[in-house]
């Protein structure tokens, strides 16, 4: 009932709401390169981007090294140091890990051993299967955050947002008007 009366009130104010809508877009266009507060994320949380594991050989230690160095993105620096300091000697050859299912798709790597050391890790399957679009990245991977915020400066012809109800529009309008007194 409350909503209904607000709706009726809204009809009378349709012109004002429409003007507010357009004025809001103009204000947005003028204020584009601002507000990066939303991007205050950390750089340590990489959940969702790791998860590549493999078991390339019968040796447990080889398996551990291979899985560490197969981290395809941000976590590779520590793994490379661990693989160079290891004293275990692997048998030369190419080892293919088993396919590991993750919530984002399958993952599989191949490890190449030369001179007893890991010389290469080849990603056979990324965490993607049928569609190319199903891998989700988080803003913890700096590129996503950079790309999202870089697009802030684009000119736009319209705006998408969570459903604005007439009530909320009128409330904020009234609030602004009362402050302007």
């Amino acid at each position: 009932m409350r909503a209904k009366s607000a709706f009726a009130a809204g009809v009378g104010s349709a012109a004002i709401v429409a003007i507010g809508w357009q004025a809001g877009l103009g204000a947005l266009a003028q204020q584009l390169p601002t507000s990066t507060a939303i991007a205050s994320g950390t750089t340590t949380n990489a959940s969702g981007t790791t998860g590549t594991t493999a078991t390339p050989s019968p040796s447990a230690s080889a398996s551990a090294s291979a899985s560490a160095s197969s981290g395809t993105s941000s976590s590779s620096s520590s793994s490379s140091s661990s693989s160079t300091t290891t004293t275990t000697t692997y048998k030369d050859g190419t080892y293919t890990g088993s396919v590991v299912a993750t919530r984002y798709g399958n993952s599989q790597v191949q490890v190449v051993i030369k001179g007893g050391k890991i010389s290469d890790v080849i990603v056979l399957q990324r965490q993607q299967v049928d569609t190319k679009s199903n891998q989700i990245s988080a803003s913890a991977t700096a590129t996503l955050k950079t790309k999202v915020l870089a697009a802030q400066s684009a000119s736009v012809s319209n705006i998408s947002g969570a459903t604005y109800t007439t009530q909320s529009y009128l409330q904020s309008l009234q609030n602004a008007l009362s402050q302007a007194k």
């Binding site: 199903n134 790309k147 736009v156 012809s157 998408s160």
Partner: protein, 257 residues
């Protein structure tokens, strides 16, 4: 010069923009058609109108089985989406009332786009409360770029700011954004509902899919987001309550630059 018309219906504001060389009369006629589309669906599906068909069903005066074909089709569509989202989207309100407003606004946007096409428009945009369908290109589109519309996405932390922008093309011409901050309408918190995301935008081939999946991901969190991108050809962008972003590759490629 773009032609713009705004009007109020279904408890929100609809914004029609045509970037074709329409005469004033042509534009007025096309907008009247769009308004008629929204009015007809609102008349039948609004729970705020006591005389609407869905209010009759809510009061128990009319059985769903005896309702109009339009009503039963809308119900079947909503139930199909409920099943495809594992119940994260649902037309059944917790109090037992059938509420089809979650899909009907999107259906109206799609029908409005059809009406604009029939009126001869090729480059246009229909925005109903932040849910959008486009066709062709806006006048911002560069001559060498593919036909597209540049669309901002609101910063959920400050509704007067734009957080980012995407380009909508013929492949993904529809976009819907759902939020948990301004809860109501078709987002209901069931016990155990995930509250991970404060805002979710979905770009899809059609607006009903975009709207339903955005709603479902707000309700279902990361699990629904993974389900959506694995089962539907959609671009998804979600912001959690810590301000972290989550997106799939398709969304990254849709970002404006």
């Amino acid at each position: 010069m773009p032609l713009i018309h705004s009007f109020e219906t279904m408890g929100t504001v609809v914004n029609v923009r045509v970037d074709d060389a329409f005469s004033a009369d042509q534009f007025t006629g096309a907008c009247a058609d769009v308004e008629a589309v929204f009015a007809a669906l609102n008349e039948r599906f609004s729970l705020y109108r006591e005389d609407s068909e869905i209010s009759q069903i809510a009061r128990g005066e009319l059985r769903l089985a005896d309702s109009s074909e339009v009503m039963r089709e809308a119900y079947a569509q909503a139930i199909s989406w409920r099943d495809q989202t594992g119940g994260a989207f649902s037309p059944d309100r917790p109090d037992g009332v059938l509420d089809l407003s979650g899909t009907i606004k999107a259906v109206a946007i799609a029908q409005a786009a059809d009406a604009l096409r029939q009126a001869g428009a090729t480059n246009f945009c229909v925005n109903a409360g932040g849910d959008i369908v486009v066709s062709g290109r806006d006048d911002l589109a560069a001559a060498d770029a593919p036909d597209s519309w540049s669309m901002g996405i609101v910063d959920p932390g400050d509704r007067m700011q734009m957080l980012t922008a995407v380009r909508l093309t013929a492949k993904l011409p529809a976009m819907a954004t759902s939020g948990s901050a301004e809860r109501g309408e078709h987002i209901w918190l069931k016990p155990g509902t995930d509250q991970t995301f404060q805002q979710v935008s979905v770009l899809a081939p059609d607006i009903v899919m975009a709207d339903v999946l955005a709603t479902a991901i707000v309700a279902g969190g990361h699990a629904q987001m993974a389900h959506a991108v694995q089962n539907f050809p959609v671009a998804v962008f979600a912001i959690d309550h810590h301000g972290e972003f989550f997106a799939n590759a398709l969304f990254e490629s849709a970002l404006a630059n």
